[in-house]
Amino acid sequence: MAKTFEDNLARLEEIVAALEKGDAKLAESLKLFEEGSKLVSDCGAMLDKAEQKVIKLSKGADGAPVESPFVSEDEKNG
């Protein structure tokens, strides 16, 4: 499953804390730094790419939710 923004952010915070503590081996620190840099750009990209998705939910025949795109009343009228 793809990592969520929240997961990424939490991991990034962990990495920064570990780097600031500074007791990891250099090779490991560099690896962390690399991972952190990737997380920063991933999170940025996630924010850039995000497009709000609005779903209208209705109850299906079996009671389970049925999703359909939401069209607002204004859009219908306009």
Partner: protein
């Protein structure tokens, strides 16, 4: 005097008054405004109270059947309008209002019902802060339970989009006013929980009159919010009044727009935070590399690495020093021995017979070189050699004189 007038018994007097009052139509259907005091509900189910104003009081009774129809519970201090008839209760000679309906003056029944439900639910713990669930920081899916028409849903979608477009929004359209609204809202809340359609719920509507907002003061809605496993933000457009939904919900927003602001983070802040984290990461990585470089350089500067022969030179110096010390020691010992030798030699010299000769003694030897110790050892005419301190004399023996000194043996 008494004889001229009719004498009534107490019962007769009271019944007479009762009949008089009962005959007045205005007293049979009357509205009386006043404040409730001495309110008591008897086990019989009848309610007794007194209606008061600044200067007067009126006893009232409300029988069980009528009281059960009230939408609120009468309380002391409540300003009400009572409807009923005024009649006499002959047993204690008093008249009272036989109340068949009560309505709260000014605020209306709804308000009283609201206050009472609020109190009851509060006592039950529905507003307990300990029960309130934390909101997810970054909700993945937000369920909005409101009318699909109207400004509220648009305000929320607009703000959610601007702040945090990463959250999906699931709309559960419901009616938010009218008799059906409470059941629909409560149903949607239960449905959202049953199917876990989101990780956060916003329910509410735009502002309106107290009647318009009434669904959010409904006990069914309140209980559905309380029972929700998903955190609920209540978003009812009104201030400063608080609905019961607001009090039960995990978070309360003053308007639908405000609910959207509460629901999601502001991406600008997040971007700033990412920048900060990124900068901190770089700084600490740089600091780390710098520290390691400094350590490396300090080591590189150290003498052993800069001049690897130094170690050997040091050893060589030590060797030289040891050698020097050794030879000094050896010399000292040699000198000591030489001195001792010299002193021994001196002693030896002192014992040397030649030295005795030096003192004036002489040694005689025959022709064979044998030292002569007695006169008999040489015969007359024989050639002997007499050794002196310096040089020797070759002599001929002229005469033998035996005896004499025996000292020669001691030489």
């Amino acid at each position: 005097m008494a004889g001229e007038q009719m004498i009534f018994s107490v019962s007769e007097a009271n019944n007479f008054i009762k009949a008089l009052l009962d005959a007045v139509p205005q007293l049979q259907t009357i509205f009386v405004r006043g404040e409730i005091s001495n309110y008591k509900c008897y086990p019989s189910g009848h309610h007794y109270f007194t209606l008061k104003d600044e200067g007067s009081a009126l006893r009232c009774v409300m029988f069980r059947g009528m009281a059960a129809k009230l939408r609120f519970r009468p309380e002391n201090g409540m300003k009400v309008v009572a409807f009923g008839r005024i009649g006499v209760f002959p047993r204690d000679g008093g008249y009272q209002l036989y109340c068949s309906d009560l309505s709260v003056q000014g605020v209306g029944d709804l308000h009283v019902a609201f206050e009472q439900l609020k109190e009851a639910l509060g006592k039950e713990g529905l507003f307990d802060p300990a029960h309130k669930k934390p909101l997810p920081k970054y909700p993945r899916r937000i369920a909005i339970i409101t009318s699909s028409a109207g400004a509220a849903v648009h305000d929320m979608l607009r703000i959610l989009k601007a702040r945090w477009p990463m959250s999906e929004v699931v709309l559960l359209p419901v009616r938010v006013q009218g008799a059906e609204a409470p059941a629909e809202i409560a149903g949607a809340l239960r449905y959202a929980n049953k199917w876990k359609v989101a990780d956060l719920i916003i329910t509410g509507r735009g502002g309106g009159s107290i009647e318009d907002l009434w669904a959010f003061n409904d006990e069914r809605v309140a209980r559905a919010i309380y029972a929700s496993d998903l955190p609920v933000i209540s978003a009812i457009g009104h201030e400063p009044d608080v609905t019961i939904s607001d009090s039960v919900a995990d978070a309360r927003a003053s308007t639908p727009s405000n609910a959207a602001e509460i629901a999601v983070p502001e991406q600008k802040e997040l971007r700033r935070r990412l920048d900060t984290l990124s900068a901190r990461m770089e700084q600490s990585a740089q600091k780390r590399v710098k520290a390691l470089r400094e350590r490396y350089e300090a080591l590189a500067r150290s003498r052993v690495l800069r001049d690897p022969m130094a170690f050997i030179d040091d050893k060589r110096l030590l060797l030289d020093y040891t050698q020097r010390k050794l030879s000094t020691l050896a010399q000292a010992q040699t000198a000591q021995r030489a001195q001792r030798f010299a002193s021994l030699a001196a002693s030896l010299d002192a014992l040397s017979p030649l030295k005795v000769l030096g003192r004036g003694y002489a040694v005689a030897r025959d022709e064979n070189g044998t030292i002569l110790r007695a006169a008999e050892e040489a015969s007359v005419g024989e050639m002997i050699e007499v050794l002196l301190g310096q040089g020797s004399l070759m002599c001929t023996v002229d005469e033998q004189r035996t005896g004499g000194t025996g000292h020669g043996k001691n030489i």
